[in-house]
Symmetry: C3
Subunit: 332 residues, 3 copies
């Protein structure tokens, strides 16, 4: 494995192999495996879990890491090609990213969607520029429409909880004060489809996932024996559900139009997960969320603090999943 | 030892044992003792010494650490139970803290007093919520009314300087531009009482330490053979003093009322330590301060730069003291 | 070697020895050389390369590091001697710097020029105060008029590219939106002179380097057999050039006067490096820059992306050059 940018770049067996390695490293640590290796982490956007789980995971394998956060201790980086840099951005990514890559053995980059041009974001215009600038092993720490580390951790979590491969996986839109990117919904949808599940996207009018994201998931489902469909009907979605994966995202009808999005979501306060949602679900239906989660906006306290919630386990699994990725990338 | 939250949780012998271990680690390092172990450090409030001394100390024992500073590189965390999180705080401590704890072998948390409700701060309402959320070894990096790492380092410093166990320890209020928390005065007072010293709290009218803090120190003094009293009279306080421990704190009469506090402290400019304070003290009387200190506001340059000052030694002792704590917590 | 503050503190042979060690460490790593050693890094000003290359380099030698950035996670530090600290700066460097030094085995400090008083900046008033406060090995991470780590990396880069010792080295002023410090031009000029090159400073009227900087370089040239002169004439400067080192700096005629400087530089838009500059240079003339660089303001895209540019190699060389410095400082 040379890069970890998208779960779709891997064969299903390669994903299962990574999960197996993650489980092995949990139970049989290799504290010297990456001795002398350096991981560089670049965060164009804030992070809590990603930063700490990568730093901890790298250290548990004997390696080291450094963190660069443009705008915090270093200057903002320019990303526009051909820019005349006479304003506030002191350095271009065309210098900054290759320089940082030259100091480390693997580089991780987080760069959220620009959130203005849906086509550009779906095409991963920005992240693809980074991949061209880096020859070393590269890890996607969340890009415009992907978050493979989260997807891998979530798959591992479902395996550990014995969620059936053919179980019903409901990816449900939930409320948030503002429009969020499509990275996690896109990655989660694809992951569940690739795992072979019966995937239902449950979202209000105006929040349908783009065709490119749905089609990619459908192709994964076709290969794995799973299925993908969407609905606005909560009863239809939740009936027999094995997993409810709650996630916030912006209106795709009004992509980049914060005012129109706000007007639409103002009427969607009932899209907060409560116990009543599970009336017709599997008795043991789990609630998943990638975190951070807005309590009592996206999910009610009583659900997050109740037995359905596996959000802490998902977050914990970021570390072993990423340790497996680092192991494969750096011990070729 | 499972947690290091309050010196009062330890028997006197356990404190002496930690100081002995700190001294041993200084003279006979154990650079592999904590190999493969991870320390997580969470700073809800700024830090200079605590961050660097813990990172350095952990590394000197062969371990690694990561740092999370809500508001710097990651979002602000919500602390209110039951909050409807529709404003600017993206994640609740009920998720954030257990997640970070799951990546490390020991977690340190700094969370200063809220400074509004004295009863809530004295009860450590916030920090006790953290202790409930973390099952792993936990270290108090300064809470509303405690700072056990500072207290341990100060005790070690006095031992090294051969300050007599029964010496006169004057904890004196000093000037600061604004009201500061009670954490260090409370922890220092208790530490000196537990060490068995003759403790005098010297403070102006309106700045008496709360009964809960005085009573806790008196109980420690009763057990150790020391004593605790308070006075506003500088001559009474300083006569025969072995140690002057200078510290700033907010008015307890006007707790949480910045305007009233400011009015009171405007008249207290003479509460700055100068050499003239020591006219009737022991010739060798030491000046201690936990740092950071406002030069020429709290303590005059000539005192800080003179032979009485041991503030750099106190600060240095944070590192070996904390190495001993980490050693005991992580090598059970 | 006890400190690394200025290339001028070293004999020419000592510089060559450091470069040789840097090359050896690149090809034959010593991953345990600095095991158990701690490097403290203090950044009063932002950093990208310096922070990451030092953290990575220290880790590659088996050591650890911590980073303190006043104003980011910790408070601003007061630097004025005798200050009455009743404003926003919570701690004086007279406490902060020795305390941080006490936790580590070597300390690096970055503190840019104040940019108001040219004489004070040329005298390194601030940095010399730091050197008095620290007894441990100390590294200059860029001071008012020096940047020895950059100079060492640039020398190594020229050696690797087989730039002749007697080659013509043009240090050229280039455009920037605002006045920048003299640290890199001063250090670069001295380095090229010490290497024995024919050095030409190419700069517009109002931007002549101060006599103290020119004289220091001339003394180095006299010892190495090189030469130093200055010109405003581009044809004169570029004719037969082996290296063009582009750098931005503020007007020395209007030092500390941002408005007058802005008025002067408003007419200097043609001081951006383009391919046309090289008409009479050596066919193989290289373009160097310490980074960060403003694309299409200081240097045109087609030059930075073309074969003359060696800026990424210079930046990479920061790491091995600094590893050699750490090795010499910490393994005496």
């Amino acid at each position: 494995m040379k890069r970890f940018l998208d779960l779709a770049d891997l064969e299903r067996d390669a994903v299962l192999d990574l999960i197996g390695l993650a489980q092995r490293l949990e139970h049989k640590p290799e504290p010297q495996a990456l001795a002398g290796k350096i991981l560089g982490l670049v965060f164009f956007n804030p992070s809590l879990r990603t930063l700490s789980s990568f730093q901890a995971g790298m250290a548990r394998l004997g390696g080291s890491s450094f963190v660069i956060t443009p705008g915090q201790g270093t200057w903002q980086l320019e990303t526009r090609l051909g820019a005349v840099m006479d304003a506030d951005r002191a350095e271009h990514v065309r210098e900054g990213i290759p320089v940082l890559a030259s100091y480390c053995d693997a580089l991780g980059i987080r760069a959220f969607a620009d959130g203005k041009d849906l086509e550009a974001d779906l095409a991963e215009t920005q992240f693809n520029e980074f991949t061209r600038l880096v020859q070393k092993p590269l890890i996607n720490l969340e890009s415009a429409v992907n978050h493979p580390c989260q997807a891998l951790a979530d798959w591992k979590t479902m395996d550990e909880l014995h969620v059936p491969q053919r179980g019903k996986f409901v990816l449900s839109w939930v409320k948030h004060p503002r429009a969020l990117p499509l990275a996690v919904p896109a990655a989660t949808l694809h992951m569940a489809a690739m795992r072979g599940m019966e995937v239902v996207v449950h979202r209000p009018d105006g929040y349908a996932l783009p065709d490119a994201i749905m089609d990619k998931a459908r192709r994964a489902a076709a290969a794995s024996g799973g299925s993908v469909r969407e609905t606005e009907d909560r009863d239809d979605a939740m009936k027999g559900a094995t997993v409810l994966y709650a996630k916030e995202w912006g209106s795709t009808r009004h992509y980049g139009d914060a005012a129109a999005d706000a007007q639409l979501r103002a009427k969607l306060g009932h899209w907060m997960v409560e116990e009543s949602w599970f009336a017709k679900a599997d008795a043991d239906c789990k609630v998943m969320h990638c975190l951070p989660v807005r309590r009592n906006v996206a999910i009610a306290d009583h659900v997050l603090d109740g037995p359905r919630s596996v959000v802490l386990r998902e977050a914990y699994n970021r570390m072993p999943a990423q340790m497996a990725v680092l192991h494969r990338l750096l011990l070729a």
